[in-house]
């Protein structure tokens, strides 16, 4: 099961599912990360964490451990 946390820099993935605690899941969804959305991993911070992704046209910063609840698949 691949999550956003495992995706290297520069790849585009599609959101397959969201798990996790209700409040966090809701917040992540409110930011536009929903099933079927494309995410572009723009960069990974110098110390490895957090990750910067591009979703629906804007930049979002998200921690690796929070990214872990976002299950993804390759978007081709």
């Amino acid at each position: 099961m691949k999550t956003l946390k495992d995706i290297p820099c520069g790849q585009i993935v599609k959101v397959k599912n969201l798990s996790g605690e209700k409040a966090l899941k809701r917040r992540i969804m409110d930011m536009g990360i929903t099933k079927g959305t494309d995410l572009f991993v723009r960069k990974i911070a110098p110390l490895g964490d957090p990750i910067e992704i591009n979703v629906r046209g804007y930049e979002l910063t998200i921690r690796k451990e929070d990214a872990n609840i976002i299950e993804v698949e390759s978007a081709v």
């Binding site: 966090l24 917040r27 992540i28 930011m31």
Partner: protein, 691 residues
Amino acid sequence: MKIALAGNPNSGKTTLFNTLTGSNQHVGNWPGVTVEKKDGTLRRNMGETVIIQDLPGIYSLSPYTLEEIITRKYLISDRPDAIINIVDASNIERNLYLTTQILEVGIPVVIALNMIDIVQKKGDIIDIEKMSEKLGVPVLEMSALKVVGETEVVRAALLAAKSGKCPTPITFSPETENVLREISELIKDYVSPQTLRFCSIKLFEHDGKTRLELPDAVKLQIEDLVYKFEDKAGDDSDSVIINERYNYISRITEECVILPHKGELTVSDKIDKIVTSRVLALPIFAAVMFLVYYLSISTIGGLMTDWVNETLFGEIVPNGIGAFLERIGTAEWLNALILDGIVAGVGAVLGFIPQMLMLFLFLTLLEDCGYMSRIAFILDRIFKKFGLSGKSFIPILIGTGCGVPGILASRTIESESDRRMTIITTTFIPCSAKLPIIALIAGTFFPRSAFVAPSAYFIGMAAIIVSGVMLKKTKPFKGASAPFVMELPAYHPPKPSAVLRTTLNRGAEFVQRAGTIILLASVIIWFLSNHSFSFRVSDVADSMLAVIGGGLAPLFAPVGWGKWEAVVAALTGIIAKENIVGTMGVLYNKTGIETAFTPLAAYSFLLFNLLCAPCLAACGTVAQEMKSRKWTAFALGYQCGFAYIVAFIAYQLGRFFSGTGFGVGTVAALVLVWAMLMMLFRKGEKKWRQS
């Protein structure tokens, strides 16, 4: 007439609010919470009193954060006459997400499409008319920064309010609409027609905060309906709604928004590639901060300050005033009060204006162009290790100006323990009032070193990080790290006029403080240091101040400055940190400050005053935000204790390494260092998550 302003954080809401209300603002708190409530009256005369209510910046009307709950409650219960929904055109999809929810509240809405200038610069095109048609509400262009379009927006809002026409809420998929329809049927007797749609949707989403008085039978029926739906859909009801909202938005933006440059790297991206790159980010950050301090305090600023201190306030002003006083024939004691008290004290502080201005200028530049949010991003990993998030960096950033708003900025942190920790550590970073102290010590005792001034900033950061690590491992501060989800705004070239204005404002405030608080303090210090307890003129060494200070002085012998002058100076820092410089100026007026300390003791003095409890105003703010005497006492006690220990270690180990002494002190210092390392590196009782 009440108009509410709603929109995402950073959408330009506050700028619009300020433009519309000018100084007719009223700031308080929403009842029962620490979230700020701002309202004001419309500046422009539209024929009637129009109240503008600013609402907290939110991303959605979900029931999870305080700001969202407050906004919902306000919109549903207080029923403003119209809502101006501010949409950041450069982030349109996510902003429209909130819009779809605002359209359901049953109040007339007008959309203000802000930052339209940024969109146009990028080359993107938005068809406003089409968007207005599709959403069913007026959409108006606005550029709050360039002050274009506000009047039209307000006019449209007033029109909408008077017409009372409620927008048509968006339509979801047929399956969803079926369930919503059934829920509406069930609750229509219990809610007003305007809020029927909103309540139906919230109940559909299992929203726990609707505060509806529904009979249990109805509640059960609704639950049943929703569970059946979720079964069929294979997903939670609120996920479905969120997805459908975004689908709806995609359909709209596909037709109304044209992005010819999609996927291309913007200039901001290109800059970020370097600035936040794995390898270069931290060195660049260190270099930037070093340069800022080096240029302002040691070089450019330093040169000018030398002239101001030595010539202007050393000769020109005292000679000029002295001559004037002689001519009008004032008494000797008054001359002494003015020259040795006021001029010496205030002059000492004012002497640093060139450096202060330089520093204010640089810091404002950095803030304005957007670099500072990158720093939060870069430092988040380090911060995360002690349960702080990059969000905690904002108060620290503000604290470089003044601790009071910095501490107040901690309100945005949701977790109670994180917030407390931020409040305690925010004032470790040098505020603008501490800058004269840095400049004084660096300039007087280490004139040839470029590192002393920047070291103050870095030690402040280190103190924050070290404290964070140590405290987080203790019981009262343990807890899950807050999720860190933050956006990086685009870089923009700083506006010279705005930067200049801010810098000069800060400079003016600095001068104002010098002319008021410091002046008063200088007079008092002069008096206390030149008169004995019998109120007769005496030598400085026999004065009241010397006796008082002398009583406390031995306490500070271990840190290298056990003399009453230094102790008194540090004490006067309670009122305003600049006083430390002012006091030293008065007390060492005749002998010169260089004679006060050895360089090492001076550095220890600097460290202590940088880290110990802040000025009275900031302490008051700590008390106000902690809302608990116990926590306030802990915060202030921790700061002073930490400051003392750091100064002690620096002094004792400094003496050891320079070969001037090995004794009990050195051993004690080493023990303390070892203890700190232990507290830093011991295993906290963190939950180890599976990687």
